[in-house]
């Protein structure tokens, strides 16, 4: 972080209009991003609350606080709320909405009114879900498997599926808006391979949102209709096929994992570059790997269904294809690591989140390979090993990326800094708490503890207590930023670009004016075109000279570049 002596701009998007109408009827992508941020923060803490209740029950092997039915509702609500109402919209709808037009030099997204409409649809979906929470919950698991959900469950399945249906359409419209925006609204000179990697990853995310979500939407409607009208589309007693439901569900819900993680991968690329002060190594490979992940994401869903009675030959194909996803994912991790090499790394809060992300994403990804192999999956299926694996990707990955991005762009969004010391502390607490929560779960899962039970064999207690302890630490780590972010809105130090980061979003004022840029920017350089930083004097031919260290990839350019 670099000390700045700046003052807030006189007119910016936050103070240009006043009153509740100026927020609820806004078409400004920045304000819509904030509307999303407030909504998903509520959902985040609600879903997290259910997680804590789950962990509390699992402190002891017996049923202490909740019976099986209540416990089933808690893990279902935890999953439904955090997946559909927090993780899927998280980075795209908040940071994406706020940053895409700024990063590509546009005044707004291509369809501003549609953008506001998607927020309202999201709110409608959320209200359905909150209603379900209020009137007694749902106990099917977030996967809504049939025929339990359609025939046997006596909880509020229809309202929950309709909530998911609505939020799905919000997601589709956001993705559609972003794709068109990235295609048609780029500033002159901003060619595809000059785009920030965050834009590439959101483009790939949007493709999945647009193409996968409609299938989930119609599947949810089928479940609701079957339950309401007692028809037999998925009910085996009436000739229906529950496996068809699983296919249709995972056709969306596997790609959805990439809806959650791809934006984080993009954020981390931005953070790695900004805090090493270097162009991301292998920029083109990192950019294209996002698209590869999006494409692969559509052809691996069967790895959720190895034990479902699906054909073993289909399983073999899905297994091989699932291994392939490791390739573009590894491309990213290796390239980030190569970027760190000889970079001038600074360990500000966003970078701590990014580094934590890399480690957890790598382990989460590698354990995914265990689960992609059919033989091992027979042992690990529906155990805590699976829970640990996908929490590493979704929480250790997606949420860490979201928090890293929030800290990094906070001064851009509000013109004020959060307290850096508290930021680093929270990043550390989150990392420690996260690992303590989920690493024991790999072991208890491997030893055979199944998911979705509120009682367990006594020999698993020590590891479960560790996990519960970790989750309470994690909870503190998440509450801290909530407190100091709100504090910083008023008392934070005024900042414009405290990282001295490159990118169009940093070239306008912080907070940006309502129209983003006072005149249309014209792009003449690559992304992350960082000048070389003055470094320690280096030895040349045995003599000390006052030259500059030349980071990889900028050799030859460095001497012309401006030194800051």
């Amino acid at each position: 972080m670099i000390e700045e002596n700046v003052s807030l701009p006189r007119i910016h998007y936050l103070n240009s209009h006043y009153g509740w109408k100026s927020w609820l009827l806004t078409t400004d992508h920045k304000r819509i991003g904030l509307l999303y941020m407030v909504s998903i923060t509520l959902m985040f803490f609600l879903g997290g609350f259910f997680a804590l209740l789950i962990r509390l029950e699992l402190l002891t092997p017996q049923a202490d606080m909740f019976n099986a039915d209540t416990y089933n509702k808690f893990f279902t609500l935890h999953g439904v709320i955090l997946i559909f109402f927090f993780l899927v919209p998280s980075i795209p709808a908040t940071l994406g909405n706020f940053l895409i037009p700024l990063m590509i030099g546009a005044k707004d997204v291509a369809f501003p009114k549609l953008n506001l409409l998607s927020w309202y649809i999201f709110v409608i979906g959320s209200l359905f879900t909150l209603w379900v929470v209020a009137v007694g919950g749902i106990d099917t698991g977030w996967t809504f498997y049939t025929p339990y959900s359609t025939t046997f469950a006596n909880t509020h399945v229809i309202a929950a599926t309709l909530g998911v249906f609505f939020t799905g359409f919000s997601s589709i419209l956001t993705g559609l808006n972003f794709i068109v925006t990235i295609h048609k609204m780029r500033a002159p000179g901003l060619t595809w391979f000059r785009l920030p990697l965050f834009i590439w990853s959101l483009y790939a995310t949007s493709i999945i949102q647009v193409l996968a979500t409609p299938v989930l939407g119609i599947t949810m409607v089928l479940v609701a209709v079957e339950r309401f009208a007692k028809v037999g589309i998925f009910d085996p007693a009436l000739g229906g096929d529950p496996i068809l439901f699983q296919h249709m569900f995972w056709f969306y819900s596997h790609p959805a994992v990439y809806i959650m993680i791809l934006p984080s991968l993009g954020v981390v690329s931005e953070l790695i570059s900004a805090f090493t002060w270097k162009r991301v190594f292998g920029y083109k490979f990192v950019a294209v790997s996002s698209l590869m992940i999006a494409i692969f994401s559509f052809i691996v869903w069967g790895h959720h269904m190895y034990v479902s009675s699906m054909s073993i030959y289909a399983g073999m194909l899905f297994s091989i294809l699932s291994y392939l996803v490791a390739v573009p994912s590894a491309v990213k991790v290796f390239n980030w690591t190569a970027t760190l090499y000889k970079g001038s790394v600074s360990y500000d809060t966003p970078m701590l989140y990014a580094l934590g992300f890399i480690g957890l994403f790598t382990i989460g990804g590698l354990t995914g390979l265990f689960l992609a192999s059919m033989g091992l999956d027979r042992h690990l299926h529906d155990t805590y090993f699976v829970i640990a694996h996908f929490h590493l990707i979704m929480v250790g990955g997606a949420v860490m990326g979201y928090f890293g991005g929030l800290h990094y762009w906070w001064p851009k969004m509000f013109g004020r800094m959060y307290p850096e010391w508290w930021g680093r502390l929270s990043a550390l607490i989150v990392f420690v708490g996260f690992n303590l929560s989920f690493f024991p779960q790999f072991i208890i899962g491997y030893l055979g503890m199944p998911r979705r039970y509120h009682v367990y064999a006594p020999e698993f207690q020590v590891l479960n207590v560790m996990s519960t302890a970790g989750s309470s630490i994690l909870g503190v780590g998440y509450l801290l930023p909530l407190v100091y972010f709100i504090w910083s809105l008023r008392y934070g130090k005024v900042a414009a670009n405290p990282w001295k980061a490159k990118g169009l979003e940093w070239e306008t004022a912080s907070p940006p004016p309502p129209e983003n840029f006072l005149e249309q920017p014209i792009v003449t350089e690559e992304a992350y075109n960082y000048p070389t930083r003055p470094a320690q004097p280096v030895k040349h031919g045995g003599k000390l000279t006052g030259g500059f260290a030349q980071p990889a990839g900028t050799a030859g350019k460095g001497r012309e570049a401006e030194v800051v």
């Binding site: 291509a110 559609l176 068109v180 048609k184 409609p214 939407g217 009208a229 028809v231 009436l238 068809l244």
Partner: protein, 224 residues
């Protein structure tokens, strides 16, 4: 740059940029629609493979003449829609209004025929979840129930798209009547045309898959 009367929205720089954005957006929207219907076509394929005889016999309970008539209505409405877009492009307001009205007329005829078909099935106790009673061979009952469920769900979703389309058409007609469109700016007409053709195209797939499987069987769900 833009002013209050310009058709170019404030965040676009040129009318071409606006037009191309709308066009890409519309095609993407149609892609989502293909996936929406695609899931149902997948379910149809799975169950037709599972219950080939039941699907054939249940399909013979469809009135292919009414379905055929409706196919004709939709094809005609697509042709009139093409002429409507062409009139807008050439700035012929009268032609635009006339062809839009014709499109709406044939679209409405489609829904009227569909209404009578649904009523007919209702009286024959063909509606799953409402009054489904299978009088044919008992071993075909499950497959036939799924066939009829898919029939009502898919044609119902299609009819919903027709209703939305007719609502949009009224809006396009009114804005055309108020003189909003010109050869320089008629993009909404063209975008609506894309939507209309898409909805017609869905029907072109639905008709043979639902109506014609048992066309060689005696009417009324006989055995073979």
């Amino acid at each position: 740059m833009s002013n209050a009367h310009s058709p170019v929205a404030h965040h676009f720089y040129t009318i071409e940029q606006q037009k191309e954005s709308a066009t890409i957006g519309m095609w993407l929207f149609l892609a989502t629609e293909i996936l929406l219907f695609g899931a149902l076509f997948t379910a149809y394929a799975v169950y037709r493979y599972k219950f080939p005889d039941a699907f054939m016999v249940a399909s013979s309970r469809m009135d292919w003449k009414m379905g055929g008539l409706n196919t004709l209505f939709l094809i005609i409405s697509s042709v009139t829609m093409v002429f409507a877009v062409s009139s807008a492009e050439k700035g012929r307001r009268g032609g635009l209004l006339g062809f839009l009205a014709a499109t709406g007329f044939f679209g409405t005829l489609f829904l009227v025929v569909k209404y009578f078909e649904y009523m007919h099935h209702y009286h024959d106790h063909d509606v799953p979840g409402l009054n489904f009673q299978w009088t044919g061979a008992p071993e075909l009952a499950n497959g036939a129930q799924i066939f009829f469920f898919l029939y009502f769900f898919m044609t119902g979703l299609h009819a919903l798209h027709m209703v939305v389309g007719l609502g949009l058409l009224i809006w396009i007609f009114l804005t055309a009547y108020w003189g909003k469109y010109s050869p320089e700016y008629y993009n909404p007409v063209e975008m609506f045309g894309l939507y209309w053709h898409f909805v017609d195209l869905v029907w072109i797939f639905l008709f043979p898959l639902l109506y014609l499987l048992g066309a060689h069987l005696p009417p009324g769900g006989g055995h073979h």
